[in-house]
Amino acid sequence: MFGFLDRSLRFAAVAALSLGTGGTAAAAGDVEAGGKVFRACAACHAMEPGKHRLGPSLAGVIGRAAGTAEAFRYSKAMEESGVVWTEDALALYLTKPSAFIKGNRMAFPGLRKPDDIADVIAWIKANGGGAAAPPAAAGAAPVPTVAPARAAVAASAPAGGGRYGLGRPAKPEEIALWDIDVRPDGLGLPPGHGTATEGEALWGERCAACHGDFGEAFGRYPALIGGEGTLAREFPEKTIGSYWPYASTVFDYVHRAMPYGDAQSLTADETYALTAFLLASNNLIDQDFVLDAKSLPQLKMPNADGFYIHDTPDFPPYEPCMKDCKKSVEITGRARIIDVTPEGEDNAVSVE
């Protein structure tokens, strides 16, 4: 209920600002006086089309959607304001720029005198700041209330359409940029292909420094090959070949997080090639097996059936013993003998 009311109010506010109709103080300005006021603006704003200073060019600003002058880097606040620069909107903005669009970058504190505002708007309008399209006929030019490019945003702005009307719709191209996850069924795999042979040189260049020439790994970096048949042994080796249930995870992770410190730098073809290299190093595919969005989901990893969900407690409730619960207690192991605890100065310097 509240959300609906809130959204309606805000929509009404935006709509009111968009319907500049003249007849206000803004329309009755003195152009000559406005020229003097504009000197304060000229430090940051030019009237020549495309000439941006600290602020954007004001050529054609009246009637333009806020945050849309070409090749100017706006604040997000300005870009997402949904405001259209009608004369009324400009008048409100110039009263206190920081309050009208919160978070915008214009440092100017605002004009205190209503006459100054009316005059400077009149001057801007008379000096190239009017609507870009020439009036079709003599007399009052119809000021576009909503710029076409911003129409969709302004109409629902800034509501995402939910109860609270917060956020904006995520555009398909934005989702595509971030949505990099790949599922075992292949959903999310990009176009492209690669083979182990193609991946070998790249592996040597970008992966082998930590993971070894074949994925055997150095030091405490994770080994990626070998370990077949060790999972039930005393010291299991959990690698891609012995443990990972899905090949899709290799592709996803290599693209998402590798090389360490240069994540998401690999192309789709490179990622397919490196995934193929790792699978071939684990003897799961041939050197020239072509890995792509079609072939990858069809691979069955050796340990695909090695996982299960266990969601009941291992220990059902019981009332534990409180007295004489055992006859004696023996110490069977001591940390001091193993002696791997960091101590002394190491402790002091371990946190920077």
């Binding site: 604040s75 978070g103 956020g167 904006r168 719709p169 996850d181 534990p320 007295k323 001591r334 960091p342």
Partner: protein, 436 residues
């Protein structure tokens, strides 16, 4: 009134200075007291009548002015508490960015962990993200895919909640035997803070989850783009999208400006630097839910999606980093917690589990939170084997190592919640031991 106070301050300052000037030549009283062990001399100089205990004197800080306001615009702990820091085990990980450090549990008391000592676990370092640039995208099987700014997120009705966060690998180095000699290292991958944020349910309702949406993928904005799949039931239950911890914005290393809070579940799913939530009809089987954070059982198969942090407790004082220093009256102190909800009871044993006594639970007692327990005892100087055992509201009793290993073996890495034993020797020192 204010004027009067000012004048009085001036007076005080003058008096102090006069006294200082009147001090005898040679080492000043300030130096004497700072030197320690010379308080007796100070007492003599003061001309005190009857002999008084050596630690009683008129200290410089009682006479001279302390630091001004704004000396520390953001306050820091007392310099005498410099040992209360996170510590790491350098040999554990290959790099310092994909690594972990540990909360100094033995130095903490009460259920709140100070933000600066909450343990860190990153998979590609802690990024520095500006809140104005940060965006949360929610998409997938939803009616209205959305992009939200931090300012917009803060306009949803918030809630404030205390929760513990424990890494699934906490105590993971201890499966095969007592290894690390300090509760910070054996149990320090845990913290408990107060969050403020938006219920995840509110955000999902804002987007309208489609009926086919059964799973949620959470993704971080760090260079590991950390991802985990969560069932939609949990997402709609008690999860939060949090921007505040302990009254201030999240610390950078805890996910600034936005993190997921998944109460009672393993820390890895509490995705930090949260940038994306995707709704799908099945899990994604990401690296952190296949290769990692799965529990290998003795038969060579592995448990998957074992999110729940089971009931666990530990005595933090005494412990190897916090020895007993005196015989006679002493207080044993520890923490208990359970992902199931409330801690119902904590028992402590001083004899390695032969006899048990219920400990005193000190409030607040909150679900999915650290619970502080105390046990007052008299130490006569004899060795002790200290243990604690929690029982939660579901009746789950924290298992012994033997009970746990009988079922899970020693290769599961994660979810070790067995009873810890400290051996306290005649000198009061404590050691991490395993007992029969």
């Amino acid at each position: 009134m204010a004027k009067g106070l000012g004048a009085s301050d001036q007076m005080l300052g003058r008096v102090v200075r006069v006294t200082d000037a009147a001090a005898p030549a040679g080492p000043s009283r300030r130096q004497l007291i700072a030197g320690g062990g010379v308080l007796a001399a100070a007492a003599v100089a003061l001309g005190a009548g009857p002999a008084r205990p050596q630690d009683i004197g008129i200290a410089d800080h009682t006479r001279h002015l302390g630091t001004s306001v704004d000396e520390y615009p953001y306050g820091v702990p007392s310099p005498h508490e410099a040992q209360v820091i996170r510590r790491s085990v350098p040999w554990l990980t290959a790099t310092r960015e994909s690594s972990i450090n540990f909360t100094p549990l033995h130095e903490l008391e009460g259920i709140v962990t100070p933000s600066g000592v909450c343990f860190e676990r990153h998979h590609a370092g802690a990024p520095d993200i500006g809140p104005a640039e940060h965006r949360l995208m929610i998409h997938g099987l939803v009616e209205r895919p959305l992009v939200l700014t931090m300012a917009e997120l803060r306009r949803f009705p918030p809630v404030t909640r205390f929760y513990f966060l424990e890494c699934a690998a906490n105590s993971g180095m201890e499966w095969r035997g007592a290894q690390l000699n300090g509760v910070q290292f054996t149990h320090g991958m845990i913290h408990c803070v107060q969050y403020a944020g938006v219920p995840l349910r509110t955000l999902l309702e804002e987007c309208g989850v489609k009926p086919a949406g059964k799973w949620l993928l959470a993704e971080g904005a760090d260079a590991a783009a950390m991802t985990r799949s969560l069932p939609i039931e949990k997402a709609l239950d008690d999860c939060l999208v949090a921007y505040t911890m302990n009254g201030e914005r999240l610390r950078r290393e805890q996910g600034y400006p936005l993190r997921l809070v998944v109460p009672g579940w393993e820390g890895n799913v509490w995705v930090k630097w949260l940038r994306r939530l995707e709704i799908g009809d099945q899990p994604w089987y990401q690296r952190e839910e296949t290769s990692k954070y799965t529990d290998l059982m003795p038969d060579g198969r592995a448990r998957q999606f074992s999110w729940l942090m089971e009931p666990k407790s530990v005595i933090v004082n005494p412990s190897p980093q916090a020895p007993l220093t005196a015989r006679g009256a002493n207080v044993l102190r520890g923490f208990a917690w359970t992902g199931n909800g409330l801690v119902k009871r904590v028992d402590v044993s001083l004899d390695g589990g032969i006899n048990w006594t219920p400990a005193r639970l000190e409030g607040p007692l909150l679900p999915k939170c650290l619970t502080q327990f105390y046990h007052d005892f008299v130490w006569n100087g004899e060795p002790m084997l200290l243990q604690s055992r929690v029982i939660d509201e579901t009746g789950y009793v924290q298992p012994t190592y033997q009970q746990l290993i009988d079922i899970r073996g020693v290769n599961s890495v994660y979810h070790n919640h067995a009873i810890q034993t400290w051996l306290v020797n005649e000198a009061g020192g404590a050691e991490n031991v395993r007992v029969s």
